[in-house]
Protein backbone atom coordinates (compact mmCIF):
# COMPACT_ATOMS: atom_id res chain seq x y z
CA UNK A 1 0.00 0.00 0.00
CA UNK A 2 2.20 2.82 -1.26
CA UNK A 3 0.78 6.25 -0.62
CA UNK A 4 1.40 8.78 -3.36
CA UNK A 5 3.22 11.90 -2.26
CA UNK A 6 0.82 14.81 -1.97
CA UNK A 7 3.21 17.75 -2.37
CA UNK A 8 0.53 20.40 -1.99
CA UNK A 9 -0.62 19.16 1.44
CA UNK A 10 2.98 18.81 2.57
CA UNK A 11 3.69 22.38 1.47
CA UNK A 12 0.58 23.69 3.23
CA UNK A 13 1.43 21.90 6.47
CA UNK A 14 5.08 22.90 6.38
CA UNK A 15 4.18 26.56 5.79
CA UNK A 16 1.80 26.64 8.76
CA UNK A 17 4.35 24.97 11.01
CA UNK A 18 7.21 27.24 9.94
CA UNK A 19 5.04 30.32 10.60
CA UNK A 20 4.18 28.99 14.08
CA UNK A 21 7.87 28.19 14.64
CA UNK A 22 8.87 31.81 13.96
CA UNK A 23 5.95 33.15 15.99
CA UNK A 24 7.17 31.10 18.95
CA UNK A 25 10.66 32.56 18.57
CA UNK A 26 9.21 36.06 18.45
CA UNK A 27 7.21 35.18 21.56
CA UNK A 28 10.46 34.19 23.31
CA UNK A 29 11.83 37.66 22.52
CA UNK A 30 8.90 39.58 23.95
CA UNK A 31 9.69 41.10 27.29
CA UNK A 32 7.12 43.85 27.75
CA UNK A 33 3.96 42.85 29.62
CA UNK A 34 1.72 44.30 26.92
CA UNK A 35 3.17 42.26 24.09
CA UNK A 36 2.73 39.19 26.27
CA UNK A 37 -0.90 40.11 26.81
CA UNK A 38 -1.33 40.61 23.06
CA UNK A 39 0.10 37.15 22.45
CA UNK A 40 -2.30 35.62 24.97
CA UNK A 41 -5.17 37.60 23.43
CA UNK A 42 -4.25 36.12 20.05
CA UNK A 43 -4.53 32.62 21.50
CA UNK A 44 -7.91 33.44 23.05
CA UNK A 45 -9.10 34.96 19.76
CA UNK A 46 -8.03 31.80 17.96
CA UNK A 47 -10.02 29.65 20.39
CA UNK A 48 -13.10 31.88 20.06
CA UNK A 49 -12.81 31.87 16.26
CA UNK A 50 -12.52 28.10 16.14
CA UNK A 51 -15.69 27.87 18.27
CA UNK A 52 -17.55 30.35 16.02
CA UNK A 53 -16.49 28.64 12.78
CA UNK A 54 -16.87 25.11 14.11
CA UNK A 55 -17.19 23.42 10.74
CA UNK A 56 -14.17 25.07 9.15
CA UNK A 57 -11.93 24.58 12.15
CA UNK A 58 -13.00 20.94 12.41
CA UNK A 59 -12.04 20.38 8.77
CA UNK A 60 -8.67 22.06 9.37
CA UNK A 61 -8.03 19.82 12.37
CA UNK A 62 -9.11 16.81 10.32
CA UNK A 63 -6.69 17.80 7.57
CA UNK A 64 -3.82 17.92 10.03
CA UNK A 65 -4.67 14.65 11.78
CA UNK A 66 -5.06 12.91 8.42
CA UNK A 67 -1.50 14.00 7.58
CA UNK A 68 -0.02 13.12 10.95
CA UNK A 69 3.25 11.66 9.59
CA UNK A 70 3.95 14.88 7.65
CA UNK A 71 3.14 17.06 10.66
CA UNK A 72 5.45 15.02 12.89
CA UNK A 73 8.30 14.98 10.37
CA UNK A 74 8.17 18.74 9.85
CA UNK A 75 7.97 19.28 13.62
CA UNK A 76 10.99 17.10 14.30
CA UNK A 77 13.00 18.77 11.52
CA UNK A 78 12.17 22.21 12.96
CA UNK A 79 13.12 21.09 16.47
CA UNK A 80 16.48 19.89 15.15
CA UNK A 81 17.00 23.16 13.24
CA UNK A 82 16.12 25.34 16.23
CA UNK A 83 19.63 25.65 17.80
CA UNK A 84 21.04 26.66 14.39
CA UNK A 85 18.45 29.39 13.76
CA UNK A 86 17.87 30.64 17.30
CA UNK A 87 21.23 32.50 17.77
CA UNK A 88 20.18 34.78 14.87
CA UNK A 89 16.62 35.24 16.11
CA UNK A 90 16.61 35.27 19.89
CA UNK A 91 18.28 37.88 22.06
CA UNK A 92 18.70 35.71 25.17
CA UNK A 93 19.45 32.58 23.20
CA UNK A 94 21.43 30.71 25.89
CA UNK A 95 18.77 31.34 28.49
CA UNK A 96 15.99 30.02 26.22
CA UNK A 97 18.08 27.05 25.20
CA UNK A 98 18.36 26.14 28.87
CA UNK A 99 14.62 26.65 29.38
CA UNK A 100 13.89 24.32 26.48
CA UNK A 101 16.27 21.66 27.81
CA UNK A 102 14.63 21.91 31.23
CA UNK A 103 11.23 21.60 29.54
CA UNK A 104 12.46 18.46 27.78
CA UNK A 105 13.60 16.98 31.09
CA UNK A 106 10.20 17.80 32.59
CA UNK A 107 8.57 15.99 29.64
CA UNK A 108 10.51 12.83 30.42
CA UNK A 109 9.55 13.14 34.10
CA UNK A 110 5.88 13.75 33.26
CA UNK A 111 5.78 10.84 30.79
CA UNK A 112 7.38 8.61 33.44
CA UNK A 113 4.83 9.71 36.01
CA UNK A 114 2.06 9.20 33.46
CA UNK A 115 2.79 5.48 33.25
CA UNK A 116 2.21 5.37 37.01
CA UNK A 117 -0.55 7.94 37.54
CA UNK A 118 -2.21 8.22 34.14
CA UNK A 119 -2.11 4.63 32.93
CA UNK A 120 -2.33 2.73 36.21
CA UNK A 121 -3.79 5.20 38.71
CA UNK A 122 -0.87 4.97 41.16
CA UNK A 123 -0.33 8.50 42.44
CA UNK A 124 3.39 8.91 43.02
CA UNK A 125 4.11 12.01 45.09
CA UNK A 126 7.78 11.10 45.27
CA UNK A 127 8.58 11.84 41.60
CA UNK A 128 11.15 14.44 42.61
CA UNK A 129 12.72 11.98 45.06
CA UNK A 130 13.29 9.42 42.30
CA UNK A 131 14.50 12.26 40.07
CA UNK A 132 16.96 13.09 42.86
CA UNK A 133 18.00 9.46 43.33
CA UNK A 134 18.88 9.33 39.63
CA UNK A 135 20.76 12.62 39.87
CA UNK A 136 22.69 11.77 43.04
CA UNK A 137 23.56 8.29 41.72
CA UNK A 138 25.06 9.76 38.55
CA UNK A 139 26.73 12.60 40.45
CA UNK A 140 28.29 10.42 43.15
CA UNK A 141 29.48 7.74 40.74
CA UNK A 142 31.17 10.15 38.38
CA UNK A 143 32.44 12.51 41.08
CA UNK A 144 33.74 10.00 43.62
CA UNK A 145 34.58 6.99 41.46
CA UNK A 146 35.16 8.56 38.06
CA UNK A 147 32.64 6.23 36.38
CA UNK A 148 32.16 7.26 32.71
CA UNK A 149 28.88 9.00 31.99
CA UNK A 150 27.77 6.41 29.45
CA UNK A 151 27.38 4.11 32.47
CA UNK A 152 26.12 6.64 35.04
CA UNK A 153 23.09 7.53 32.90
CA UNK A 154 21.53 4.05 32.78
CA UNK A 155 22.62 3.45 36.38
CA UNK A 156 20.66 6.55 37.43
CA UNK A 157 17.58 4.83 36.03
CA UNK A 158 18.42 1.43 37.49
CA UNK A 159 19.09 2.72 41.02
CA UNK A 160 15.84 4.71 40.90
CA UNK A 161 14.10 1.48 39.87
CA UNK A 162 15.72 -0.41 42.77
CA UNK A 163 14.51 2.21 45.26
CA UNK A 164 11.13 1.93 43.56
CA UNK A 165 11.06 -1.83 44.19
CA UNK A 166 12.03 -1.24 47.80
CA UNK A 167 9.21 1.27 48.23
CA UNK A 168 6.76 -0.99 46.43
CA UNK A 169 6.97 -3.60 49.19
CA UNK A 170 4.96 -1.48 51.65
CA UNK A 171 3.18 0.33 48.80
CA UNK A 172 1.27 -2.57 47.26
CA UNK A 173 -0.40 -3.37 50.57
CA UNK A 174 -2.14 0.00 50.56
CA UNK A 175 -4.89 1.35 48.35
CA UNK A 176 -5.95 4.68 46.84
CA UNK A 177 -5.17 7.74 48.93
CA UNK A 178 -3.05 5.73 51.34
CA UNK A 179 -0.81 4.76 48.47
CA UNK A 180 -0.28 8.46 47.74
CA UNK A 181 0.52 9.06 51.43
CA UNK A 182 3.20 6.36 51.47
CA UNK A 183 4.92 7.92 48.44
CA UNK A 184 4.58 11.38 50.02
CA UNK A 185 6.35 10.16 53.15
CA UNK A 186 9.05 8.50 51.05
CA UNK A 187 9.67 11.72 49.13
CA UNK A 188 10.10 13.72 52.34
CA UNK A 189 12.34 11.01 53.80
CA UNK A 190 14.68 11.04 50.82
CA UNK A 191 15.11 14.83 50.92
CA UNK A 192 15.79 14.70 54.69
CA UNK A 193 18.26 11.84 54.23
CA UNK A 194 20.13 13.72 51.50
CA UNK A 195 20.18 16.81 53.71
CA UNK A 196 21.72 14.96 56.63
CA UNK A 197 24.18 12.57 55.05
CA UNK A 198 27.75 13.73 54.78
CA UNK A 199 28.47 11.26 51.98
CA UNK A 200 26.02 13.04 49.68
CA UNK A 201 27.31 16.48 50.62
CA UNK A 202 24.53 17.33 53.08
CA UNK A 203 22.68 20.60 52.45
CA UNK A 204 25.49 21.80 50.16
CA UNK A 205 24.80 18.96 47.79
CA UNK A 206 27.19 17.86 45.07
CA UNK A 207 29.28 20.40 43.24
CA UNK A 208 31.33 20.24 40.04
CA UNK A 209 29.72 17.07 38.69
CA UNK A 210 31.49 16.24 35.42
CA UNK A 211 29.70 17.00 32.17
CA UNK A 212 28.37 14.29 29.85
CA UNK A 213 31.06 12.69 27.74
CA UNK A 214 30.46 10.04 25.11
CA UNK A 215 33.31 8.29 23.29
CA UNK A 216 35.69 11.15 24.02
CA UNK A 217 33.24 13.87 22.94
CA UNK A 218 32.76 16.27 25.83
CA UNK A 219 29.42 18.05 26.05
CA UNK A 220 31.32 21.20 27.04
CA UNK A 221 32.79 21.53 23.56
CA UNK A 222 31.15 24.04 21.25
CA UNK A 223 29.83 22.49 18.05
CA UNK A 224 30.52 24.95 15.22
CA UNK A 225 30.95 27.84 17.63
CA UNK A 226 27.47 27.41 19.12
CA UNK A 227 26.91 27.39 22.88
CA UNK A 228 27.73 24.09 24.61
CA UNK A 229 24.09 23.83 25.71
CA UNK A 230 23.39 22.86 22.10
CA UNK A 231 24.88 19.41 22.85
CA UNK A 232 22.47 18.96 25.74
CA UNK A 233 19.59 20.29 23.66
CA UNK A 234 20.07 17.59 21.02
CA UNK A 235 20.68 14.87 23.58
CA UNK A 236 17.55 15.72 25.58
CA UNK A 237 15.55 16.08 22.35
CA UNK A 238 16.51 12.53 21.37
CA UNK A 239 15.65 11.25 24.86
CA UNK A 240 12.25 13.00 24.74
CA UNK A 241 11.49 11.48 21.33
CA UNK A 242 12.46 8.06 22.69
CA UNK A 243 10.29 8.53 25.79
CA UNK A 244 7.34 9.55 23.63
CA UNK A 245 7.83 6.52 21.41
CA UNK A 246 8.11 4.14 24.37
CA UNK A 247 5.04 5.69 26.03
CA UNK A 248 3.13 5.45 22.76
CA UNK A 249 4.10 1.80 22.29
CA UNK A 250 3.14 0.89 25.83
CA UNK A 251 -0.18 2.70 25.51
CA UNK A 252 -0.99 0.88 22.27
CA UNK A 253 -0.26 -2.61 23.53
CA UNK A 254 -1.59 -5.22 25.93
CA UNK A 255 0.46 -3.51 28.65
CA UNK A 256 -1.51 -0.28 28.19
CA UNK A 257 -4.81 -2.15 28.13
CA UNK A 258 -3.97 -4.17 31.24
CA UNK A 259 -2.89 -1.05 33.15
CA UNK A 260 -6.07 0.79 32.09
CA UNK A 261 -8.23 -2.10 33.27
CA UNK A 262 -6.53 -1.99 36.68
CA UNK A 263 -6.99 1.78 36.90
CA UNK A 264 -10.67 1.68 35.99
CA UNK A 265 -11.75 -1.42 37.94
CA UNK A 266 -9.17 -3.43 39.79
CA UNK A 267 -11.58 -6.15 40.96
CA UNK A 268 -12.95 -6.78 37.46
CA UNK A 269 -9.40 -6.88 36.07
CA UNK A 270 -8.41 -9.49 38.66
CA UNK A 271 -11.42 -11.60 37.74
CA UNK A 272 -10.08 -11.83 34.18
CA UNK A 273 -6.70 -13.10 35.30
CA UNK A 274 -4.75 -9.87 35.81
CA UNK A 275 -2.31 -10.02 38.72
CA UNK A 276 -2.90 -6.40 39.67
CA UNK A 277 -0.13 -6.18 42.29
CA UNK A 278 2.55 -7.35 39.87
CA UNK A 279 1.34 -5.04 37.08
CA UNK A 280 1.13 -2.01 39.33
CA UNK A 281 4.70 -2.75 40.39
CA UNK A 282 5.84 -3.04 36.78
CA UNK A 283 4.23 0.31 35.93
CA UNK A 284 5.73 1.95 39.03
CA UNK A 285 9.23 0.71 38.24
CA UNK A 286 9.02 1.50 34.51
CA UNK A 287 8.09 5.09 35.36
CA UNK A 288 10.91 5.32 37.88
CA UNK A 289 13.50 4.21 35.31
CA UNK A 290 12.52 7.13 33.06
CA UNK A 291 12.46 9.53 36.00
CA UNK A 292 15.88 8.33 37.24
CA UNK A 293 17.53 8.75 33.82
CA UNK A 294 16.12 12.28 33.59
CA UNK A 295 17.70 13.00 36.99
CA UNK A 296 21.10 11.75 35.82
CA UNK A 297 20.99 13.96 32.71
CA UNK A 298 20.04 16.96 34.83
CA UNK A 299 22.89 16.37 37.30
CA UNK A 300 25.51 16.14 34.56
CA UNK A 301 24.20 19.18 32.74
CA UNK A 302 23.82 21.57 35.67
CA UNK A 303 26.85 20.20 37.49
CA UNK A 304 25.44 21.15 40.86
CA UNK A 305 22.59 19.46 42.73
CA UNK A 306 21.32 19.88 46.28
CA UNK A 307 18.31 18.55 48.25
CA UNK A 308 15.96 21.51 47.56
CA UNK A 309 16.05 20.62 43.83
CA UNK A 310 14.07 17.49 44.65
CA UNK A 311 11.52 18.74 47.17
CA UNK A 312 7.80 18.05 47.35
CA UNK A 313 7.05 21.28 45.43
CA UNK A 314 8.89 19.84 42.44
CA UNK A 315 6.84 16.62 42.65
CA UNK A 316 3.62 18.60 42.76
CA UNK A 317 4.65 20.60 39.70
CA UNK A 318 5.17 17.38 37.71
CA UNK A 319 1.87 15.93 38.96
CA UNK A 320 0.19 19.19 37.87
CA UNK A 321 1.72 18.86 34.38
CA UNK A 322 0.18 15.40 33.95
CA UNK A 323 -3.22 16.37 35.36
CA UNK A 324 -3.40 19.63 33.42
CA UNK A 325 -2.42 17.99 30.13
CA UNK A 326 -4.68 14.98 30.43
CA UNK A 327 -4.18 11.64 32.15
CA UNK A 328 -2.91 8.92 29.85
CA UNK A 329 -2.82 11.24 26.83
CA UNK A 330 0.75 11.67 25.59
CA UNK A 331 0.14 14.76 23.45
CA UNK A 332 -1.86 16.31 26.30
CA UNK A 333 0.98 15.76 28.75
CA UNK A 334 3.48 17.34 26.38
CA UNK A 335 1.24 20.40 26.07
CA UNK A 336 0.70 20.49 29.85
CA UNK A 337 4.45 20.37 30.42
CA UNK A 338 5.09 23.18 27.91
CA UNK A 339 2.44 25.38 29.55
CA UNK A 340 3.68 24.84 33.09
CA UNK A 341 7.38 25.17 32.34
CA UNK A 342 7.54 27.87 29.63
CA UNK A 343 4.69 30.14 30.73
CA UNK A 344 6.17 30.77 34.21
CA UNK A 345 9.48 31.74 32.56
CA UNK A 346 7.59 34.18 30.35
CA UNK A 347 5.81 35.63 33.34
CA UNK A 348 8.98 36.62 35.16
CA UNK A 349 8.20 40.17 33.99
CA UNK A 350 5.16 40.16 36.24
CA UNK A 351 6.94 38.45 39.10
CA UNK A 352 4.44 39.31 41.82
CA UNK A 353 1.49 37.80 40.00
CA UNK A 354 3.25 34.81 38.51
CA UNK A 355 2.42 32.26 41.19
CA UNK A 356 -1.05 33.76 41.47
CA UNK A 357 -1.80 33.22 37.77
CA UNK A 358 -0.30 29.77 37.94
CA UNK A 359 -2.66 28.91 40.81
CA UNK A 360 -5.67 30.29 38.93
CA UNK A 361 -4.80 28.14 35.93
CA UNK A 362 -4.73 25.05 38.10
CA UNK A 363 -8.12 25.88 39.59
CA UNK A 364 -9.87 26.96 36.40
CA UNK A 365 -8.74 24.17 34.06
CA UNK A 366 -9.95 21.21 36.14
CA UNK A 367 -13.26 23.11 36.60
CA UNK A 368 -13.91 23.45 32.88
CA UNK A 369 -11.98 20.46 31.60
CA UNK A 370 -11.96 17.85 34.36
CA UNK A 371 -10.17 15.31 32.17
CA UNK A 372 -7.32 17.72 31.45
CA UNK A 373 -6.74 19.72 28.27
CA UNK A 374 -6.77 16.62 26.06
CA UNK A 375 -8.70 13.82 27.76
CA UNK A 376 -9.60 10.26 26.71
CA UNK A 377 -8.37 9.01 23.39
CA UNK A 378 -9.50 5.62 22.09
CA UNK A 379 -6.71 3.08 21.96
CA UNK A 380 -6.10 2.17 18.31
CA UNK A 381 -3.06 -0.09 18.78
CA UNK A 382 -2.05 0.45 15.15
CA UNK A 383 -3.61 2.12 12.12
CA UNK A 384 -4.14 -1.27 10.46
CA UNK A 385 -6.21 -2.61 13.40
CA UNK A 386 -9.08 -0.20 12.77
CA UNK A 387 -9.20 -1.10 9.07
CA UNK A 388 -9.03 -4.88 9.19
Amino acid sequence: MKRTFDYISILKIATVQVVIFFLVMIFFNIESVWTLIIALALVVALVVLSKAYGKQSASIIEFFTANKPTVLTVLIVLLFLYPLISPLMIRQNTYWLLVLIQTGIYMILALGLNIQLGSTGVLNLAVAAFYGIGGYTAGLLSLRLGVPTIITLPLGGIVAALFGMLLYVPLYKTKGHYMALVTLAFGIMIVLALDNTEFTGGPQGLMAIPELKFFGYSFLSKPGGLHFYTNYYYFVLVLVLLSVLVSYWFYNSWVGLTLSSIRDDEIAAKCFGVNANIWKGIAFITGNVMIGIAGAVYAHMIGFISPPNFSLAESLLIVAMVILGGLDNILGIIIGTIILSILPEKMRVITEYRVFLYGILLIVIPMFRPGGLLPFKPRKYHASVAEG
Binding site: W254, L257, S260, A268, A269, H382
Partner: protein, 262 residues
Protein backbone atom coordinates in the same frame (compact mmCIF):
# COMPACT_ATOMS: atom_id res chain seq x y z
CA UNK B 1 -28.48 -36.76 30.93
CA UNK B 2 -26.54 -35.18 33.75
CA UNK B 3 -25.12 -38.52 34.79
CA UNK B 4 -23.31 -38.94 31.50
CA UNK B 5 -21.76 -35.49 31.85
CA UNK B 6 -18.66 -34.84 33.82
CA UNK B 7 -18.86 -32.88 37.03
CA UNK B 8 -16.49 -29.95 36.61
CA UNK B 9 -17.16 -27.97 39.73
CA UNK B 10 -18.31 -28.79 43.22
CA UNK B 11 -18.35 -27.19 46.64
CA UNK B 12 -18.59 -28.93 49.99
CA UNK B 13 -19.99 -27.21 53.07
CA UNK B 14 -18.83 -23.87 51.74
CA UNK B 15 -19.03 -21.22 54.45
CA UNK B 16 -18.57 -17.48 54.44
CA UNK B 17 -18.61 -15.88 57.83
CA UNK B 18 -18.67 -12.06 58.06
CA UNK B 19 -17.80 -11.50 61.71
CA UNK B 20 -20.45 -13.88 63.04
CA UNK B 21 -22.96 -13.48 60.23
CA UNK B 22 -23.04 -16.53 58.02
CA UNK B 23 -23.70 -15.32 54.47
CA UNK B 24 -23.03 -18.87 53.34
CA UNK B 25 -23.74 -21.58 55.90
CA UNK B 26 -22.56 -24.76 54.21
CA UNK B 27 -23.39 -24.85 50.53
CA UNK B 28 -23.04 -28.13 48.63
CA UNK B 29 -23.18 -27.46 44.97
CA UNK B 30 -22.23 -29.03 41.67
CA UNK B 31 -21.90 -27.89 38.08
CA UNK B 32 -21.75 -30.39 35.23
CA UNK B 33 -20.27 -29.93 31.81
CA UNK B 34 -22.45 -28.03 29.29
CA UNK B 35 -25.33 -27.36 31.64
CA UNK B 36 -27.11 -24.20 32.71
CA UNK B 37 -27.92 -23.94 36.39
CA UNK B 38 -30.09 -21.30 37.97
CA UNK B 39 -29.47 -20.03 41.46
CA UNK B 40 -32.42 -18.33 43.11
CA UNK B 41 -33.16 -16.93 46.50
CA UNK B 42 -34.57 -13.76 48.09
CA UNK B 43 -32.50 -10.64 48.73
CA UNK B 44 -29.64 -11.25 51.09
CA UNK B 45 -29.85 -15.01 50.76
CA UNK B 46 -26.19 -15.27 49.77
CA UNK B 47 -26.32 -15.63 45.97
CA UNK B 48 -23.83 -12.90 45.10
CA UNK B 49 -21.66 -13.87 48.07
CA UNK B 50 -21.50 -17.37 46.61
CA UNK B 51 -20.23 -15.91 43.32
CA UNK B 52 -17.74 -13.73 45.13
CA UNK B 53 -16.40 -16.70 47.08
CA UNK B 54 -15.95 -19.00 44.11
CA UNK B 55 -14.24 -16.27 42.07
CA UNK B 56 -11.87 -15.55 44.94
CA UNK B 57 -13.04 -11.99 45.66
CA UNK B 58 -13.96 -13.16 49.18
CA UNK B 59 -11.95 -15.84 50.93
CA UNK B 60 -14.14 -18.70 52.17
CA UNK B 61 -14.01 -19.22 55.93
CA UNK B 62 -14.93 -22.90 55.84
CA UNK B 63 -15.56 -25.86 53.58
CA UNK B 64 -13.97 -26.32 50.18
CA UNK B 65 -14.60 -25.90 46.47
CA UNK B 66 -13.02 -27.64 43.54
CA UNK B 67 -12.76 -27.06 39.81
CA UNK B 68 -11.69 -30.03 37.67
CA UNK B 69 -10.82 -31.87 40.90
CA UNK B 70 -8.42 -29.13 41.97
CA UNK B 71 -9.06 -27.20 45.16
CA UNK B 72 -9.46 -23.46 44.62
CA UNK B 73 -9.69 -22.62 48.31
CA UNK B 74 -7.62 -19.56 49.21
CA UNK B 75 -6.68 -18.84 45.59
CA UNK B 76 -6.53 -15.26 44.29
CA UNK B 77 -9.14 -14.08 41.76
CA UNK B 78 -6.57 -13.91 38.95
CA UNK B 79 -5.52 -17.52 39.58
CA UNK B 80 -9.13 -18.71 39.52
CA UNK B 81 -9.78 -16.75 36.33
CA UNK B 82 -6.80 -18.47 34.70
CA UNK B 83 -8.41 -21.86 35.39
CA UNK B 84 -11.40 -20.89 33.25
CA UNK B 85 -14.07 -19.32 35.44
CA UNK B 86 -15.33 -15.92 34.35
CA UNK B 87 -18.24 -13.78 35.43
CA UNK B 88 -20.41 -10.74 34.95
CA UNK B 89 -21.57 -8.43 37.71
CA UNK B 90 -24.89 -7.33 39.09
CA UNK B 91 -24.00 -3.68 38.66
CA UNK B 92 -21.96 -3.36 35.50
CA UNK B 93 -18.21 -3.37 35.99
CA UNK B 94 -17.14 -2.27 32.54
CA UNK B 95 -14.42 0.34 32.06
CA UNK B 96 -16.75 3.07 30.81
CA UNK B 97 -14.00 5.33 29.47
CA UNK B 98 -12.40 2.57 27.43
CA UNK B 99 -13.65 1.53 24.01
CA UNK B 100 -15.97 -1.34 23.34
CA UNK B 101 -13.11 -3.27 21.75
CA UNK B 102 -10.81 -2.68 24.73
CA UNK B 103 -13.45 -3.93 27.13
CA UNK B 104 -13.88 -7.18 25.25
CA UNK B 105 -10.12 -7.60 24.83
CA UNK B 106 -9.68 -7.41 28.61
CA UNK B 107 -11.57 -10.71 28.74
CA UNK B 108 -8.87 -12.33 26.62
CA UNK B 109 -6.05 -11.45 29.01
CA UNK B 110 -5.19 -15.10 29.58
CA UNK B 111 -4.78 -15.74 25.86
CA UNK B 112 -2.19 -12.99 25.36
CA UNK B 113 1.29 -14.06 24.35
CA UNK B 114 2.83 -10.68 23.40
CA UNK B 115 4.13 -9.40 26.75
CA UNK B 116 5.91 -6.38 28.17
CA UNK B 117 8.97 -6.48 25.94
CA UNK B 118 7.01 -7.35 22.82
CA UNK B 119 5.19 -4.02 23.17
CA UNK B 120 8.49 -2.34 22.32
CA UNK B 121 10.75 -4.83 20.55
CA UNK B 122 8.24 -7.02 18.73
CA UNK B 123 5.43 -4.77 17.54
CA UNK B 124 4.73 -7.07 14.59
CA UNK B 125 3.80 -9.99 16.81
CA UNK B 126 1.71 -7.74 19.06
CA UNK B 127 -0.25 -6.15 16.21
CA UNK B 128 -0.89 -9.55 14.61
CA UNK B 129 -2.26 -10.74 17.94
CA UNK B 130 -4.41 -7.65 18.40
CA UNK B 131 -5.93 -8.20 14.94
CA UNK B 132 -6.58 -11.82 15.77
CA UNK B 133 -8.31 -10.99 19.04
CA UNK B 134 -10.27 -8.23 17.36
CA UNK B 135 -11.61 -10.75 14.86
CA UNK B 136 -12.88 -12.86 17.76
CA UNK B 137 -14.46 -9.79 19.40
CA UNK B 138 -16.26 -8.97 16.15
CA UNK B 139 -17.51 -12.55 15.87
CA UNK B 140 -18.91 -12.37 19.39
CA UNK B 141 -20.59 -9.02 18.81
CA UNK B 142 -22.05 -10.34 15.59
CA UNK B 143 -23.92 -12.98 17.60
CA UNK B 144 -25.29 -10.53 20.14
CA UNK B 145 -25.89 -7.30 18.30
CA UNK B 146 -24.24 -6.62 14.92
CA UNK B 147 -25.13 -2.94 15.27
CA UNK B 148 -22.39 -2.67 17.89
CA UNK B 149 -19.61 -3.55 15.44
CA UNK B 150 -19.26 -0.03 13.91
CA UNK B 151 -19.02 1.32 17.48
CA UNK B 152 -15.96 -0.77 18.27
CA UNK B 153 -13.82 2.30 18.94
CA UNK B 154 -16.43 4.26 20.91
CA UNK B 155 -16.32 4.45 24.69
CA UNK B 156 -18.61 1.90 26.31
CA UNK B 157 -20.12 4.66 28.47
CA UNK B 158 -22.06 5.86 25.41
CA UNK B 159 -24.04 2.62 25.14
CA UNK B 160 -27.50 1.94 26.62
CA UNK B 161 -27.81 -0.48 29.54
CA UNK B 162 -28.75 -3.56 27.53
CA UNK B 163 -25.80 -3.18 25.16
CA UNK B 164 -23.45 -2.69 28.08
CA UNK B 165 -24.67 -5.96 29.53
CA UNK B 166 -24.11 -7.62 26.17
CA UNK B 167 -20.57 -6.29 26.06
CA UNK B 168 -20.08 -7.64 29.56
CA UNK B 169 -21.28 -11.09 28.50
CA UNK B 170 -19.02 -10.90 25.41
CA UNK B 171 -16.11 -10.01 27.67
CA UNK B 172 -16.85 -12.97 29.93
CA UNK B 173 -17.06 -15.29 26.91
CA UNK B 174 -14.08 -13.91 25.01
CA UNK B 175 -11.51 -15.88 26.98
CA UNK B 176 -13.35 -19.15 26.24
CA UNK B 177 -13.95 -20.08 29.87
CA UNK B 178 -15.37 -23.40 31.10
CA UNK B 179 -17.83 -21.78 33.48
CA UNK B 180 -19.57 -18.43 33.09
CA UNK B 181 -21.24 -16.93 36.13
CA UNK B 182 -23.99 -14.44 35.28
CA UNK B 183 -24.96 -12.30 38.23
CA UNK B 184 -28.48 -10.97 37.66
CA UNK B 185 -28.12 -10.16 33.98
CA UNK B 186 -31.64 -8.70 33.83
CA UNK B 187 -31.09 -6.19 36.66
CA UNK B 188 -32.30 -2.73 35.66
CA UNK B 189 -33.90 -3.80 32.38
CA UNK B 190 -37.38 -3.50 30.94
CA UNK B 191 -39.39 -6.69 30.31
CA UNK B 192 -38.73 -6.40 26.56
CA UNK B 193 -35.03 -6.07 27.12
CA UNK B 194 -35.12 -9.04 29.46
CA UNK B 195 -36.70 -11.16 26.72
CA UNK B 196 -33.95 -10.09 24.31
CA UNK B 197 -31.36 -10.93 26.90
CA UNK B 198 -32.77 -14.43 27.40
CA UNK B 199 -32.38 -15.04 23.68
CA UNK B 200 -28.81 -13.79 23.99
CA UNK B 201 -28.04 -16.26 26.74
CA UNK B 202 -29.51 -19.08 24.67
CA UNK B 203 -27.27 -17.94 21.81
CA UNK B 204 -24.27 -18.21 24.11
CA UNK B 205 -25.12 -21.83 24.67
CA UNK B 206 -25.59 -22.60 21.00
CA UNK B 207 -22.40 -20.86 19.83
CA UNK B 208 -20.07 -22.03 22.55
CA UNK B 209 -19.27 -25.64 23.16
CA UNK B 210 -18.03 -26.89 26.45
CA UNK B 211 -19.28 -24.09 28.58
CA UNK B 212 -21.41 -24.30 31.68
CA UNK B 213 -23.51 -21.38 32.76
CA UNK B 214 -24.57 -20.50 36.23
CA UNK B 215 -27.10 -17.75 36.47
CA UNK B 216 -28.37 -15.79 39.45
CA UNK B 217 -31.72 -14.15 38.84
CA UNK B 218 -34.65 -12.50 40.49
CA UNK B 219 -36.73 -12.66 37.36
CA UNK B 220 -38.27 -16.14 37.43
CA UNK B 221 -39.10 -16.08 33.72
CA UNK B 222 -35.39 -15.89 32.90
CA UNK B 223 -34.59 -18.81 35.16
CA UNK B 224 -37.42 -20.96 33.82
CA UNK B 225 -36.52 -20.40 30.18
CA UNK B 226 -32.76 -20.62 30.41
CA UNK B 227 -31.76 -23.13 33.04
CA UNK B 228 -32.23 -26.88 33.19
CA UNK B 229 -31.65 -27.19 36.88
CA UNK B 230 -32.44 -24.79 39.69
CA UNK B 231 -31.13 -24.42 43.20
CA UNK B 232 -32.78 -22.24 45.79
CA UNK B 233 -30.94 -20.87 48.78
CA UNK B 234 -31.97 -18.81 51.76
CA UNK B 235 -29.96 -17.57 54.74
CA UNK B 236 -26.88 -19.08 53.14
CA UNK B 237 -28.34 -22.58 53.02
CA UNK B 238 -29.77 -24.68 50.23
CA UNK B 239 -33.52 -25.10 50.63
CA UNK B 240 -34.45 -26.88 47.43
CA UNK B 241 -33.08 -28.22 44.19
CA UNK B 242 -34.40 -29.86 41.04
CA UNK B 243 -36.22 -28.72 37.91
CA UNK B 244 -37.77 -25.26 37.82
CA UNK B 245 -41.26 -26.66 38.51
CA UNK B 246 -40.07 -28.70 41.44
CA UNK B 247 -38.21 -25.84 43.02
CA UNK B 248 -40.82 -23.17 42.41
CA UNK B 249 -43.51 -25.35 43.99
CA UNK B 250 -41.39 -26.28 46.96
CA UNK B 251 -43.09 -24.99 50.15
CA UNK B 252 -39.93 -23.51 51.65
CA UNK B 253 -39.20 -21.61 48.45
CA UNK B 254 -42.72 -20.22 48.32
CA UNK B 255 -42.38 -19.22 51.93
CA UNK B 256 -39.03 -17.52 51.36
CA UNK B 257 -40.41 -15.47 48.48
CA UNK B 258 -44.00 -14.85 49.58
CA UNK B 259 -43.75 -15.05 53.34
CA UNK B 260 -45.38 -17.39 55.85
CA UNK B 261 -49.12 -17.71 56.27
CA UNK B 262 -50.21 -16.28 59.55
Amino acid sequence: MQDTNRRIFYSENLEMNFGGLYALAGINFEIFENEAVGLIGPNGSGKTTFFNVITGVYKATGGSFHFMNESLLGKEPYEIAKKGISRTYQSSRLCLKLTLLDNILIGMYNNQTAGYFSSIFNRKKLIAEVKNFKKRAVELLDVFNPELIPKLFNPVGELPQIDRRRVEICRAMAGEPRIILLDEPSAGMTPDETTELMDDIKKVRSTMKNVSIMIVEHDMSVISSVSERVIAINFGKEIAKGTYEEVSNHPEVREAYLGKEV
